[in-house]
Subunit: 281 residues, 2 copies
């Protein structure tokens, strides 16, 4: 239930939390976040109930759950990166999409009444800060994954700014790569490092024969490596290749062989394809 | 002259290579790539002259320069990652935007006549492969930085597909961060590693107090660290913080102090802001 649901188009409106629930878009009647710490968040509802939330359409500064007095709505204790908040951290660390639903009328992006499914967002940064009531709150920056497909009500109010910030690197991820990373316990197959972040471990799935045109590599486990970001950068940019016997060619100071496990077999043809991208000049 | 030019809107059409040149959009009358190995590429022209090029609108598989017979247009020697080709590698490694110009009529995205400025693209992957004439050619995958702002002729033919591929990480970059990385010789200020890719070195500029809402950190040298991707991930996700004396708090096995150089002073207030994002729970 993670990600976009094929049967529900972006922009679909719903009368109530009950109808959202029945459609499987947001599977809770009260909670703002649906998800589990171990699996990631499925969906969030933005309905203006949290005074600390800030909605910018294409991105949202979202407040976690916990520590609120149910009667007054005021924060009476610190929030922590546990339960649903940890689910959003897991979504960040694994690169999982989160469904975003906006509820009625509270700002210029919200529908006039009821609720609207606004597509999937990625969880960018997360952190804690002091909220309006003086307690620590968990905060998440969510960014639309397909900003050009957002409902008109959002895109029409968007201010297009051409910023001096450029994109240096985009790491893409697939369900298959998350499975392979799990098998390796998020340890890099080149150096054995695991990155320990607040809330969980981080690694990247590196496709040996790249996905997409023109390489058209398959998203299969035998075409994937579990790597730390450093070795992912190097692998994609020809900093090393891997030979038929899994010996690593090109990095000094690394134990010469790829770390492999029996259940994860690599396809020799894909390794050869990668070597051919970087034939010595 | 790198990046979008304020005075030339995306979609502007030009009669000739001469008028492109005079506007500063593509500062060469014949070459397909303008740029220098040390500084990155300024712009490329896609005009259908290279049979190996493949244009998908939002992204392009582009062939490098060199090794062609000027009379027949056939490839007669291997291409290498040098000169203009290396400029495109530099653009990738530094995350620099490249202006893309399409020339007349050769495909469904091109203008009916003359040339059109289509905004900036990032250089995604690069590699070498055997071209149609049997020689090694340099290849680059260029991706539109603002796909929703492309001219109508491109977006109207676009097939919207919602793929199972998700975005796990986006690394953003600024001119200031490129300067800071240069000062440190692309060595990580935490571990001292430099990533050596084919064509150049790779490091990331990490803003201490994050850019953008809601943090609104400044893009100044005293708010930037030069880090390897691994330590950038950890720094952004609370894996470590840096104290007043530049001691690193939170990573085992690292020499306890940030590597600093006299010309690059950090702002203590920004370090404190970062520590406050990750106050122990």
């Amino acid at each position: 239930m993670i990600g976009h649901l094929d049967q529900v188009a972006v922009g679909t409106e719903f009368e109530s939390r009950r109808s959202l629930y029945d459609a499987g878009v947001h599977r809770a009647l009260q909670a703002g976040i649906v998800g589990r710490a171990a699996e990631g968040a499925e969906s969030i509802v933005l309905s203006g109930g949290y005074p600390d939330d800030e909605d910018f359409g294409e991105f949202v500064i979202y407040t976690g759950s916990g520590g609120r007095d149910p009667n007054t709505g005021r924060q009476v204790a610190d929030q922590h990166f546990v339960k649903q908040n940890k689910a959003l951290v897991t979504s960040h660390l694994r690169g999982l999409p989160v469904r975003v639903i906006r509820g009625g009328r509270h700002n210029e992006f919200a529908p006039h009444s009821g609720f609207r499914y606004d597509g999937t967002y990625r969880v960018g940064r997360y952190w804690r800060e002091e909220g309006r009531d003086g307690f620590q709150i968990c905060r998440f920056r969510l960014e639309a994954l397909a900003p050009d497909e957002l409902p008109d009500r959002i895109t029409s109010s968007k201010v297009v700014t051409r910023s001096a910030v450029t994109v240096q690197r985009i790491v893409r991820d697939t369900a298959m790569s998350r499975r392979v990373k799990g098998w390796h316990g998020y340890c890099c197959q080149v150096c054995g490092i695991t990155l320990e972040c607040i809330g969980g471990l981080y690694a990247e799935g590196a496709h040996i024969r790249p996905l997409g045109k023109p390489h058209n590599g398959p998203d299969t486990e035998d075409n994937l490596l579990c790597l730390c970001p450093n070795h992912h950068v190097l692998f994609d940019a020809g900093g090393f290749t891997i030979d038929e016997a899994y010996l690593i060619d090109g990095i000094d100071g690394i134990d010469g062989k790829l770390r492999t496990i029996p259940r994860h077999q690599l396809n020799q043809k894909h390794l050869e394809y990668h070597r051919n991208l970087w034939r010595s000049e």
